[in-house]
């Protein structure tokens, strides 16, 4: 960890540069870990590093996976020398975020809240000690950041949900959550790309497909994207 108290821009940059560790995860992956918390600025560093690695492709790298606060680099140990990879990763990890926390044009997501589409909206309203409309108002007035994708193809972990409506997961997960369900779990919100069992609080449904093999690139969201939900009565 950096010990510099940041005053100048150079200090801030130095502090950021020091604040990572590179750990092997087996013999075919290394993980660059930034600070252990969920924070848009830390996530932006992970996304920037993944972008930088992709911008200069190197033989032997099989996959680059940014997560909340880390980047995993999967490689073929027979094609790339471990030390050379580490040198490269170290150099790139020292680079700060190339784009700020939330700056891209938001992806707008139409949602039909409540009723049959959002069976847990009433529970979230009870949690918030608010009306269902107020919950919708809070969910739609926040600009979310896509921190990472995981769980299912196209599933984007977004944050940060206003604390008032940040209801915890259901104590008993549902055996089947319909595709397109918009849900909350604590500070996170997301859209189920496919029908699956799930424990998040379902407050609405969208017609957008977070994952579609017919779409170039397949996934609707990418880490670092900005997302805003808006309420609709019909699709």
């Amino acid at each position: 960890m950096a010990t510099i108290v940041p005053h100048t821009r150079a200090d801030v940059e130095a502090a950021m540069r020091d604040d990572f560790r590179i750990v092997p995860a087996g013999d075919a992956a290394v993980i660059v870990e930034f600070e252990e918390r969920i924070d848009p600025l830390i996530n932006a560093r992970a996304v920037a590093m993944a972008d930088a690695l992709r911008a200069s492709p190197q033989g032997g790298i099989r996959d680059i996976v940014p997560t909340f606060r880390s980047v995993a680099i999967y490689f073929d140990p027979l094609l790339i020398e471990h030390d050379r990879l580490l040198d490269r990763v170290r150099a790139l990890a020292a680079v700060g975020p190339s784009r700020p926390g939330v700056a891209t044009r938001p992806v707008r997501v139409p949602v039909r809240y409540g009723g049959a589409f959002g069976p847990d909206l009433a529970d979230v309203a009870r949690f918030a000690e608010a009306t269902e409309d107020e919950v919708v108002q809070l969910h739609t007035s926040t600009m979310y950041r896509v921190f990472m994708l995981g769980f299912l193809p196209g599933f984007a972990y977004m944050g940060t949900v206003p604390s008032r409506i940040a209801a915890p997961r259901r104590s008993t997960p549902r055996t089947l959550v319909p595709a397109g369900s918009v849900a909350i779990a604590g500070p996170q919100t997301g859209i189920y790309p496919a029908a699956t069992p799930g424990g998040w609080q379902i407050i609405g449904r969208t017609s957008l497909k977070p994952f579609d093999l017919e779409r170039p690139g397949a996934a609707l969201f990418a880490p670092g994207d900005a997302v805003q939900f808006h309420a609709v009565d019909q699709w």
Partner: protein, 315 residues
Amino acid sequence: MIAGSVFVLRPGLQTTVQDMGRWGFQSQGVPVAGPMDPFSHRLANALVGNPRTAATLEIALLGPELEFDDERVVAVAGAEFALTIDDGLAPHAQAFVVPAKSRLRFNARPRGARAYLAVDGGFDVPVVLGSRATHVSSGMGGWMGRALRRGDRIPLGLASSHIARKRRRPATALLEISPSPVVRVLPGPDGHRFAAEAIDALQSGPYIVSGESDRMGFRLRGPSLRHTRGADTISDAVPVGSLQVPGSGQPVLLMADRQTTGGYPKIGTVITADIGISAQTAPGDALAFRVCTAADALSALIARERQLMAVEAVL
């Protein structure tokens, strides 16, 4: 020339089309999938002279019965099923010819858990995001995104060369299949989240592969691994072979169909050279772990690569 097909008379317990996996899309949440035992998958392909990219059938625990509509050179590697063609015996880990309209049957399985059937020309299912691999839980890739069922007809690629020119390749490279193997692990990436004695506890095993084990991962029962800072972490990428430890202290060995990210600390990672050995354990088998060095991991992988290249080089 019309490529042939294989008709599924009996599907077996979980028979899936696999190739080396769907790499490059984990940042979209797309799991890698691919063979549980990549070594035996590649060996089967090598034995019939297929390119490394060809798709095989992964055959788990209980084998299928398949009818070929044209004559094909095939090979089976990995778990040692007793194989028959119509009423004759067929060899393990060696190329043989299945005549047109004959039935290849996987019978008793004295050793191992997963076999790979390679057919000259490969299994020709649609390529999804660069791969033919089946990811069972998301229904992606393979044959209709699922394990084979009775009555399926799986298309084959064109046989790469005339059968008469195919040599019977020798089975020079075999995985050491055992019902109680010891596999090597590299510590980490989350060693700092465990009590100091946990890495010794992991090696004091063996662990038993529980019935709740599938292509995503093996739940293991054995010495408990104690966390120091709780079992919840911020979700992070999880390579194949990760030994993820939830609050129970009982590790889960993450396998081919694992999700792209996971939220429990990982005490160690099974080395690439030994993933296939782990995959050859069935529920009820024992699995022990021994810590090794990065240099050990690399030399083990090079040794395996040499074995495979020796088979691939026989033309």
